[in-house]
């Protein structure tokens, strides 16, 4: 069933802030097989001019995971999570994410379209620091694969 395009522009309330921890950065970097010392070692990060451990370029997915669930599990949108695949992803880093950041996610539905029986929904998430600075803007295209019709 196609998603109602009236959901375009729907904006969810900002989430509780996500605290970026050093161990989470280390754990996430390890899960990506990273070996660059600036993810693990404070001195190495500081040598690059950063205030604390720097997060890998895709770390925003961790900080926005809960926020994205607002859309995925929105009963009015009624997406079938087991049929949802990730179509596209785009990160705009206004500055890197560092350990010690407190980040709030504000999620909105950027676009909705249907093609070949699949629904495609682009979710936009803006990550702000507690000081109100825009740190990252993340766009995720979710594809809800259509159920094959029996004719």
């Amino acid at each position: 069933m196609a998603i109602n395009p009236e959901f375009i522009g729907r904006t969810y309330p900002p989430t509780q802030s996500y605290s970026v921890g050093r161990e989470k950065i280390r754990e996430f970097a390890s899960a990506l097989g990273e070996t660059s010392p600036c993810f693990f070692n404070l001195d190495s990060a500081r040598q690059l001019g950063y205030p604390d451990l720097v997060a890998p370029p895709t770390f925003a997915v961790v900080a926005t995971m809960k926020a994205g669930e607002q859309v995925v599990f929105d009963p009015e949108l009624a997406l079938d999570y087991t049929r949802v695949v990730h179509g596209e992803q785009r990160f705009v880093q206004h500055r890197p994410i560092f350990a010690g950041d407190e980040l709030t996610s504000t999620v909105s539905v950027d676009s909705i379209r249907s093609a070949a029986g699949n629904d495609m929904i682009t979710v936009k998430t803006q990550l702000h620091s507690t000081g109100g600075e825009l740190v990252s803007t993340v766009y995720s295209l979710l594809v809800s694969r259509g159920v094959e019709e029996v004719s």
Binding site: S36, V62, E88
Partner: protein, 142 residues
């Protein structure tokens, strides 16, 4: 750790290619680290029920891994200003010790103002492109 200066790069410059391997253990580890516990990334039963060939790698595991070709070259992962990818084909990860191998290459596709460059990344698994339109904009040194 050295960083790359703008004067050193030109359109067409190839970055050192790398190969990455995903096993089931890598998928479990990424699920835990990222918080993405979608069943299709760890249950063969559910993956097949929804029409997938097998458990598949998280698109974000692939995307997060292949950018290492750029950040290892840059020497500073904080200099990635934009990064986007389209997940064109799933990567089935068999329950074997060999897992699935992804071959990644990248080259400079465009030079921008303010010492920025656009890097186009190619990710191939079993001769098939698994990520399309995979592009990173990076900040280089003057």
């Amino acid at each position: 750790m050295t960083t790359v200066s703008f004067s050193q790069v030109h359109v067409g410059l190839e970055l050192p290619p790398q190969e990455f391997v995903f096993t089931r253990a890598d998928l479990i580890r990424y699920a835990g680290a990222s918080g993405d516990f979608n069943v299709i990334h760890w249950s063969e039963r559910v993956a097949k029920e929804v029409g997938l060939p097998s458990v598949i790698a998280h698109g974000m595991l692939t995307m997060g891994t292949v950018i290492r070709v750029v950040t290892d070259w840059l020497g500073d992962p904080g200099k990635v200003l934009e990064y986007s990818a389209r997940f064109t084909r799933p990567i089935p990860v068999p329950d074997t010790s060999e897992g699935a191998t992804i071959k990644v290459s990248a080259k400079v596709s465009e030079l921008l103002e303010n010492n920025q460059a656009v890097i186009a990344i190619s990710a191939i698994h079993n001769d098939v492109t698994v990520l399309a339109k995979t592009v990173a904009t990076v900040q280089l040194e003057p």
